[in-house]
Symmetry: C2
Subunit: 213 residues, 2 copies
């Protein structure tokens, strides 16, 4: 793992993990790079090249052992670690993220929920009370927190991100409608649902136009 791995490969790994997880669920215990290629729409040579970044996992003429490949990619992705995450913003999206139990299978544990709305105070989400934002500094002192999900309006996102970073948070999962500037030692991952929806609408409309021709 000393080798520098390109972002493109890293971005494909969760997808491999997802496919392998599905294969396991369907009881498939072995798959050729050709079959994996067909179902994932990635060339077999790309797959071999990707997996070689991590020492490869295949055996000539046998294909990949699904369970082994699944677990090894999982380790690379860190699903066997536990990263503690807090969620800032208990609107609908924040609550959805907070309640999604599957994230724990991926090594991310939701340990705290924060909002500014006093009516939400002490409401329980997965047995954890929603806290007010002014409790954030003392909470972060009393508990190891690695990352924070930001599900708040754009207007407050930069300010809250700065606060989180000043309190030592090094990873931000940003759902706010804005690209945040963060220092070099902080990792940020954006989920811009609006961008995704606009891309869908655009492609939908273009397809309609081209199909009418």
């Amino acid at each position: 793992m000393a080798k520098e791995i390109s972002n493109a490969v890293i971005r494909r790994l969760p997808r491999y993990y997802r496919y392998l997880d599905e294969l396991l669920e369907n009881g498939t215990d072995r798959i050729s790079s050709g079959d994996l290629s067909k179902s994932m729409h990635i060339t077999a040579s790309q797959i071999r090249q990707d997996l070689n970044n991590f020492g490869g996992f295949g055996q000539q003429g046998y294909g990949y052992n699904v369970q082994y490949l699944h677990d090894e990619i999982g380790k690379i992705l860190g699903v066997d670690k536990v990263h503690n995450m807090i969620v800032i913003g208990m609107g609908n999206l924040g609550q959805a993220i907070s309640r999604y139990a599957h994230f724990e299978n991926l090594g991310v544990k939701m340990v705290g929920f924060f909002d500014v709305n006093p009516r939400l105070k002490d409401n329980l989400i997965r047995d954890i009370p929603i806290r007010m934002m002014d409790e954030l500094p003392s909470f972060l002192k009393s508990q190891r927190v690695d990352m924070a999900a930001l599900t708040i309006p754009r207007s407050h996102a930069a300010e809250v991100a700065d606060q989180l970073i000043s309190l030592g948070i090094k990873g931000i999962w940003n759902f706010a409608l804005v690209d945040l500037e963060v220092p070099d030692d902080v990792v940020i991952q954006n989920v811009h649902l609006s961008d995704s929806l606009m891309e869908l609408s655009y492609n939908y409309r273009m397809k309609q136009i081209s199909d009418e021709k």
Copy 2:
């Protein structure tokens, strides 16, 4: 617009739209490609090249008129159109998507909500009752629906997507943890939150390791 526009450009357009929207909110009415470049971390020449795909919008020595550029990109993205969308799966994420009023500003109107859980039947979301899945065919006959958001478990996603497509839906916003196979005349856009979270964890962990060195 007859010209073929690359997916990479299309994928950047919502981001331009978002930045311009923010500039408008801050009262900025004019911006140079240099300043836009700095705030978006895209080279000025890339910006000029991107916007030239649509006839360009800049004036030498004046920069871009923010309102005009915003509105024109909005038109390209179709935010001035109305696309009707239904949401399948009224769990936390489905409800979050359904209640997010901002999507209407982007030209997408939520017109129907569906689930299989009878306890949710007739609960109102934005004054629209949640319907049961067996009402889907008659609903789609009585009402124009362009696209569907899928916020259901992976195990049912393929089957429900097939049903939607057979009933005439041509655009799918897929949040299920699986890549769906769709016919050529159907547009699909995936939001894989788990992939995004795994990428964040991985990058977070790598950064921690490299910072410890």
